[in-house]
Symmetry: D2
Subunit: 235 residues, 4 copies
C-alpha cells in the first residue's frame, strides 16, 4: 500500500536546471512526504517514436509494444507508480522531442481501454513542473495536463509549477514552494483515492514547511553539483 512516485524528467544536460529540479522533487517526496520515488531522465533511454499502429485498427495497439526498446523498462515503472511527476524543460512553448515520444508511446497504456476494458493510466495521479530560460510554461503544462487527464489520470489542486528565468531555480522561493506542493498534492490525492486519508487542506505554506522545503532544495542542489565535480575529477 506504499505510495510510489515516478519522477520523469527530460533534460539533455546532466547539470541542467530540469535535472536539478527533478532531484529536488525526489528529495521532497522521500524526505517530507515519505513516499517511494523512482527518478528517470528520458535522455538516458532510447525511446523510438510511436508508429501509430492504433490508426491501422484500435486493437493493433497493445502490449507488448512492437517497438521493443527501452520504453519496456519505462512501461514497467509507469505501471508500478501511483503518481507521475513530469519535470520538463520548455522547448518552443512545448515539451522537448524525447518527452513527446514518451507521451506518444503511452498511447498503448491508454488504449488498454479497448484491449483490457480499462486504461492503464486510469486513476494514476499526475503533476507538472516546467523549467525554462524564457516564457511558455503554461502552454507546456496545459498540453501535458489535458493529455494525462484524457488518458485517465487525476490532477490534484495546484498540480503545476514553473520557473521561467536564467536564474538558479533553487533561489526562486515561490517556485520551490510550488514544486513542493505539486508533490504534496499528488501524494495527498493518491492517498485519498486509495481511501487511506482524507485531505484536510492542500497548498501548504507555513514557516516550518517552508524551511524544510528550502533545506531539501539546497541539499538536492549540492548533490547534483558535487556529483558533477566528482564525475569530472574521475574522467
Amino acid at each position: 500500500m506504499d505510495t510510489r512516485l515516478l519522477i520523469v524528467s527530460a533534460s539533455p544536460r546532466p547539470y541542467g536546471n530540469s535535472r536539478i529540479v527533478a532531484r529536488f522533487a525526489s528529495k521532497i517526496a522521500r524526505d517530507i512526504e515519505n513516499v517511494h520515488t523512482y527518478e528517470v531522465d528520458l535522455f538516458d533511454y532510447r525511446i523510438e517514436p510511436c508508429i501509430g499502429c492504433v490508426s491501422d485498427g484500435v486493437r493493433m495497439c497493445k502490449l507488448p509494444c512492437v517497438l521493443g526498446d527501452d520504453m519496456d523498462k519505462l512501461y514497467e515503472l509507469v505501471a508500478e507508480s501511483d503518481g507521475i511527476i513530469f519535470v520538463s524543460p520548455i522547448y518552443w512553448y512545448n515539451v522537448p522531442g524525447p518527452l513527446k515520444n514518451f507521451i506518444d508511446r503511452l498511447t498503448v497504456f491508454e488504449n488498454a481501454i479497448f484491449i483490457e476494458g480499462r486504461s492503464r493510466m486510469e486513476g494514476k495521479v499526475a503533476g507538472f513542473i516546467v523549467v525554462g530560460n524564457d516564457t511558455g510554461g503554461i502552454a507546456v503544462i496545459q498540453n501535458l495536463m489535458v493529455t494525462m487527464n484524457s488518458m485517465g489520470a487525476a490532477i490534484p489542486p495546484w498540480a503545476l509549477a514553473y520557473h521561467e528565468s536564467d536564474d538558479n531555480p533553487i533561489e526562486n522561493e515561490n517556485f520551490i514552494l510550488d514544486v513542493a506542493n505539486v508533490i504534496r498534492g499528488v501524494v495527498l490525492m493518491v492517498k485519498a483515492l486509495k481511501g487511506l486519508e482524507k485531505p484536510k487542506y492542500w497548498y501548504r505554506v507555513d514557516k516550518e514547511y517552508k524551511e524544510k522545503v528550502m533545506d531539501a532544495a539546497e541539499h538536492a542542489y549540492r548533490e547534483v553539483i558535487d556529483n558533477l565535480t566528482y564525475e569530472q575529477s574521475n574522467r
Copy 2:
C-alpha cells in the same frame, strides 16, 4: 454532506446546443448520480468585467467584490458547490466573453489565499464540456482546466467531453457517454476527497449505464424542445 454540483453554461441562445447539453448534464447528475444540482446560464446574469484591483495590491481584491452585480449570487452558488461543471460553446477556439468575465471574477475566490489563508476554490472538483460547430474544443478545455487547477480545483480522470459538429449532440453517443462520465468522475472525486467513498473505477461504459445515460439525454432534449414550444405558444 450531500454533494452539490453547479452546472455553469454560457449559451446565448436558450435553444442552443450548450443549453441542451447543460440540461442533460443536470439530469444525469440528479437521476443517475443522485446529487443536487444547480444550473445557471451566464447569459441570464449581468456580470461586469473584472477591473483588476489585485494589480493595485494583492489585498485589494477581496469579498465582497466592489462591483456588486449579479456575480454576488453566483459567488454564493460557487461557494455552496462541491463541484463545478462548465458547459461552454466554442467561440474562436476559446470561451465566449461572458464565461471569461465569470472566470476573471473568480479571481477574488482564488485571491482569498492572501486574505483568508486559503483559496475558496481549493478542493472543489471541476469538469469541462464544450460544444461547437467546428473544432477548437481542446484549446478551450486546456485553458479552463489549467485555470481551475491554478485556482485550487481538483480534476478527476476523464474530466472532458467535446462535441464539434452541427449535428444534434444528443445523437453523438460517444459524446453523451463522455458527458456522463465527466459528471460521474466529478461526483466520485467529491466523495473520495470527503472520505465518503473510495472509487473502484472511473470511466463507465457498460450496457445498463449506457442505456440509462442515453435515456436521460433523450428526456433532457425533449424537455428543452417542449419548453421552447410552450414559450413560443405563450408569446
Copy 3:
C-alpha cells in the same frame, strides 16, 4: 495610401501597464514608423456579448450587427485600419472578458465571406503584445494569433512581445525592443502587401534604433503619468 494602425488595448485601469504599453506602441508607430494610429481601450466602450446568430444560419450574421452598441464605432475603426495591434493584459492565461467579447463580435467581419464573398479581416495585418504580472503570455498570444489568422489576417515575422513581471515594462529593454519590432513588422507587411515596399530585413536591433525606441518609451510613460497627475489634480 497611408498606413493606418488600430491599437486595441483592454486594460481596466487607466494607469495600468497595458495602457502605458499601448501608448508607447502608438508613439513608436507615429514617430518611428510614420503611420497613422488610432488607439482605443475596450474598457471605455460598451460591447455586448455576441449572441451567436451565425448558429441559427450562416447568413443571419451580417452587418449591421443586431446588437447596435458601441461596437459599431469599433467596426468602423477596424474597417479603416490596415493593421491591428492587440495590447492585452494576461488574465488566467487568456485575454480578459471584454477583449474576448470584442473578438467574438468580429465574427460578423469574418462571416462576410458568406455575405459578401470575402472576410472583412482578409489581408489586414495583426500583431500581439501582452502584459502581465505572471506567466501565460504565450497561451494568450497563440489563441489571438490563430484566431486572427483564421479570420484572414496576415502575421508578420516576430509579431509577438510579452512582459510578465511586476516590474515597470518601460525598464524591460528586450520587451520594449520586441514591442517596437511588432509595430515595425506590421507596418513593413502592410506596405509589402500593398506593393509599396519590399522588406529588406525584419527584426531591427541597431544602436540608433534602440535609442529612438527607448526614448519613445520613456516619453510615452511620462505622458501617461503626467496625464494621470493632471486628471487627479482636476478632480
Copy 4:
C-alpha cells in the same frame, strides 16, 4: 527567383493520411501554383533530439550543429526554401515526437540571430496542415504557428487546415479547399515579400479553382495508393 516550398510531413505510416495529404499539398503547389516543391517525411530521417547547447551559452548553438545527423540534409532544404508547409498528424493534441525534434533542432537556425545577426528563418513563410482521427488540431496549429513566428517566419492569411476524422481526407471538400488555400497563401506571400506580385485577394473558392483542386487531390490519392500496391507486389 523561383519559389521553393518545403513540405514537411511527419507520418509514421507510408499509407497514412498525413502522407496522402502531403502528396496532395505538393501536387497543388506544383500544378496549380507552379512552384518548386521538395517533400520530406521526417520518419525517413534520423533526427537526434536537441541537446540544448544554447543553455550553456547563447553562442554555443551554431552551425554546423554538433549532432551531425540527417538533420544536416534537412537544414539545407530549409535554407533553400522560401516557404515551409507542415503536414502533421495529431498526437495527443500536439505534434508527434519526431516533428518536435525537428522543431527543436531548428533552434540553431533561429539562434543565428546571435551568431550572424539574423535568424535563418526570418522572412520565410509558413503554413500548417494537421490530420487526425480526433480533435486537437487547433492546439497543434497554434503551437506551430507561434513557434514559427517566434523564429521569424511570416504567416499568410488562412494558413491553417485541419481534418479531424477517420474518414478519407480526400472526401472532405472543405478541408481540401483549405489545404489548397494554405499553399496559395504561402506562395502569394512569398511573392509579395519578394516584391514580385501584389496579392489581390487571398482565399480562393471559385468553381474553376475548386474543380482543379479536387482533381489534384484525387490524383495524389491514387498515386499514393498505386505506389503502395506496386511496393507490395514487389516485396
